[in-house]
């Protein structure tokens, strides 16, 4: 009897231990690649794509359905994550081996590919690294550049958005509020004084705000992109001198104008995010909103039609523009993840997606999402607001090609100097501007401190890298023969 009881006790203990261990192993043993593999069960392959284009969710569903119809063995799972969360979620996905097969990344501009290679996040578009000639021909000459989207003879990316029309720097004017203020919507402000006068009229004659300008986090970039190009450009690095530049006279003067608008009560009060400001404009609570090429599709998704607003060029200082919006080969945005087990299928999809007369392109333009680098924009764009944006951007000198340091010094592809300098407080420029704006303080001292911190790290790292044998220096970032209002053409690198 005693032995029986002991045996029962032992069995119970064994069951309890087994259950505990099973629970633990279940919790710890998920297969991170399960979703993207999916091919082992004979039902085909699932390709996971991530981006942050919330307004394109329905479009992506259409694309996924069409692709599955044409390629029954492939299912597309296209996920859009809020932009502010995306930059945190994607790295964590890589860290936990749950990265998608294809992902969108545009944070580092022309340095995108180098950064992603450094982080080991990407692999070439095809297993061999080379792409067919008919693929390359979809883009204008000069679109594939070593150090930008090619490296070591392999192609890693492709320009998605073209860079003449696409970008910040447009002024959206609300027809109703302008009308209520007795202003002519067809004659929007052209100079900074015009802008102030229009705001005075809006303030006096309507209950609406004049400019819906978000300022939470780095959202001050919306109005900055609309005013800074009047004097220099919207960048915080001066490629003429090779220095960080939020403290230079042009930047400070632009900021002082924004501060003046704020003091006069022409900026909608509050530290608002972009969605709040966009809604404010679309709800006829603000007369003006500065932003980029993507806005017509954003407002269309919110039910604010293009006949309720007009798009205008950004206003310039009264003495005329001494700068321009920047144009860079930074449209390389979709990448194949290094973690993807479906490189060939991912390539097939991207190849299909970029067919100039394909389903993706047609539907993209039908929805008015913007302008693509691999399609005939003149032929395909039908959205009136987008057409107007194109007309504005085609004005000579509205957007100019910036010099590209990596084309001057190819070793910059391996340099971390610029990344390190901006990694600390990546939104620092906007933080100091917001602090000065709401605190009604001068920008210069705050800006000078930030510039010093950035420049010190930048130059120190360049020197350390040069000492290790890289052919890099501050000179790589310095283009004294360039002026801010004209293109820096490719042939200048050959000198």
């Amino acid at each position: 009897m005693k032995a029986l009881r002991r045996a029962a006790k032992t069995a119970t203990t064994a069951v309890a231990l087994t259950a505990t261990l099973a629970l633990i192993s279940t919790a710890c043993g998920t297969d991170p690649n399960r979703a993207s593999n999916g091919g082992g069960d004979g039902k085909g392959v699932t390709l996971k794509i991530w981006d942050f284009s919330a307004e394109q969710v329905d479009f992506h569903k259409l694309v996924a359905a069409e692709y599955h119809k044409q390629h029954p063995d492939v299912t597309i799972e296209w996920r859009s994550i809020t932009q502010s969360e995306y930059t945190k979620t994607l790295p964590l996905a890589f860290q936990s081996n749950q990265a998608p097969d294809i992902f969108y990344w545009s944070d580092s501009g022309t340095n995108n590919m180098n950064q992603l290679l450094e982080q080991q996040w990407i692999k070439p578009l095809t297993p061999s690294g080379t792409v067919p000639e008919n693929f390359l021909k979809r883009w204008p000459a000069g679109s594939f550049v070593d150090g930008i989207n090619q490296s070591g003879g392999k192609t890693y990316g492709f320009p998605f958005s073209e860079n003449l029309y696409w970008g910040p720097g447009y002024m959206f004017v609300n027809k109703k509020v302008f009308g209520d203020a007795g202003l002519d919507v067809n004659n929007p402000p052209k100079t900074w004084t015009d802008l102030k006068n229009a705001c005075a009229a809006v303030k006096e004659k309507t209950k609406a705000q004049c400019i819906a300008s978000p300022s939470k986090g780095k959202e001050l970039q919306r109005i900055w992109g609309g005013l800074a190009p009047g004097l220099r450009n919207e960048q915080f690095f001066d490629l003429k001198t090779g220095k960080f530049s939020i403290d230079d006279p042009a930047a400070v003067k632009t900021f002082e104008f924004i501060q003046d608008l704020n003091k006069s009560g022409y900026l909608a009060p509050g530290t608002n995010d972009k969605d709040f400001s966009r809604q404010q404009f679309a709800a006829n609570q603000a007369a003006i909103y500065f932003d980029g090429t993507w806005m017509p599709s954003v407002w269309k998704s919110q039910g604010f039609a293009d006949d309720q607003y007009v798009v205008a060029p950004h206003p310039n200082p009264d003495s005329g523009a001494t700068g321009a919006l920047s144009r860079q080969p930074d449209g390389n945005k979709y990448w194949i993840s290094s973690k993807s087990a479906q490189q060939e299928k991912a390539w097939d999809f991207l190849n299909w997606m970029t067919e100039p007369d394909g389903y993706f392109v047609k539907e993209y333009y039908k929805a008015g999402f913007g302008t693509l680098a691999f399609a005939d924009n003149k032929k395909l764009v039908t959205d009136p607001a987008l057409l107007n944006i194109m007309k504005i951007a085609e004005t000579p000198g509205y957007r100019v090609n910036l010099p590209v340091p990596v084309l001057k010094c190819p070793d910059l592809a391996k340099s971390k100097a610029y990344l390190d300098a901006t990694a600390k407080r990546p939104s620092g420029e906007y933080e100091v501007m917001v602090e000065a704006l709401v605190g009604n303080k001068p920008l210069q001292p705050l800006a000078a401190q930030l510039v010093k911190e950035r420049q010190d790290i930048f130059e120190k790292t360049l020197k350390e890298e040069a000492a290790k044998g890289l052919k890099v220096s501050k000179d790589c970032y310095t283009f004294p023969d360039w002026n801010y209002t004209s293109d820096y053409s490719l042939d200048k690198y050959k000198k």
Partner: protein
């Protein structure tokens, strides 16, 4: 009848000599002796899940944080760039970190200094026998606690928005102000709003703590005081407060430690702004760890540890009071 009241002395308060305490410690625990043989295995089996969770979610992250803090690591690649105490050196010179530390301490002290007396007062009122509808009040005060922090932050963001927020609309309609007030435009007003919203949300929890403490004060003591003709004020100051003092120290400690963890409200209400002026340590760590790519896990780990040390020093400085309080708590039986 004189109204002189004396705080009832605990049975052996202050009378336990050190030698006696030592003797008591040496007394074998009869329960411990009962756990023998096969039962020991059962004890282990039942403890195992907790031990594993503790190991995985407390001890391991702590050890890992210490380890990471000595590396320049982005959280993704191999951990091979050993920088020694370099991260600590950088943090000590990082003005933003110290601003975050100061803001965190201001928040914690102000938050605690307001919420504890308020919640105690409310708890005293709600434990009065003459008050009707105490359950309703308790529910009302406790309700904000069940609202997620993110939701509370968003609600107040819209309530306080100077463009079309309800508060500003009211102030303007009543002609109290001529221009909308942007409470988030200034460091001090933004911090104050953070404190007040946090108190609004957590108030009920501390009220419940106080109520639990108050309900442990023996009823007979109040009855004796009534016989002696004590007023409500005398009962509160001469009976209630001394009797709940041991628990109060623990509540104070909890309140301070909890307040130092403020994060969600900062994310939703101010985003650390204007500029960086309402950064708190948790938000600083979060921004360092995830704010830019590549991540700075090593730096963030060092910042977390450094602040933990600061918090530890502050908390352990209260340790003397807590130990004394715990002893009193046992002696008072509360």
């Amino acid at each position: 009848m004189t109204a002189t009241l004396e705080t009832p002395a605990p049975p052996d308060a202050g009378a336990t000599p050190p030698a006696r305490r030592r003797t008591r410690r040496r007394t074998p625990d009869p329960n411990r002796d009962q756990v023998r043989g096969f039962d020991k295995l059962w004890v282990f089996v039942f403890l195992l899940p907790f031990l594993l969770l503790y190991l995985g979610f407390t001890l391991w992250p702590l050890v890992a944080t210490v380890y990471y803090s000595f590396f320049d690591w982005d959280g993704i690649g191999p951990i091979d760039n050993f920088v020694g105490v370099g991260n600590y050196g950088s943090i000590l010179n990082d003005k933003l970190f110290w601003l975050a530390v100061v803001n965190t301490l201001i928040f914690a002290v102000l938050n605690t200094a307001i919420k504890l007396p308020l919640s105690l007062l409310m708890a005293i009122v709600l434990t009065r026998k003459w008050l009707k509808g105490t359950k309703v009040f308790r529910t009302v005060f406790f309700a904000p606690l069940i609202i997620p922090v993110a939701m509370a932050g968003l609600v107040f963001t819209y309530l306080l928005n100077p463009s079309n927020g309800a508060l500003n609309a009211l102030l303007l309609d009543l002609h109290i102000v001529d221009q909308p007030v942007d409470v988030f435009a200034n460091r001090w007003s933004a911090l104050l709003v953070l404190v007040l919203v946090s108190i609004w949300q957590i108030f009920g929890q501390y009220m419940i703590y106080w109520m639990a403490a108050l309900q442990n004060v023996p009823e007979e003591v109040y009855e004796a005081a009534d016989i002696d003709g004590a007023s409500e004020w005398q009962k509160a100051t001469l009976i209630t407060l001394p009797m709940i003092k041991p628990v109060a120290v623990v509540i104070l400690l909890l309140a301070l430690v909890n307040a130092m963890h403020v994060f969600g409200l900062v994310v939703t209400l101010t985003g650390g702004g204007p500029g960086t002026s309402t950064y708190v340590v948790s938000y600083f760590i979060y921004q360092e760890a995830f704010g830019s790519v590549p991540f700075s896990y090593g730096y963030a780990s060092a910042a977390a540890l450094l602040f933990s040390v600061i918090a530890f020093v502050l908390v352990t400085s209260q340790g003397v009071f807590v130990r004394r309080a715990q002893q009193l708590r046992k002696e008072y039986g509360v």
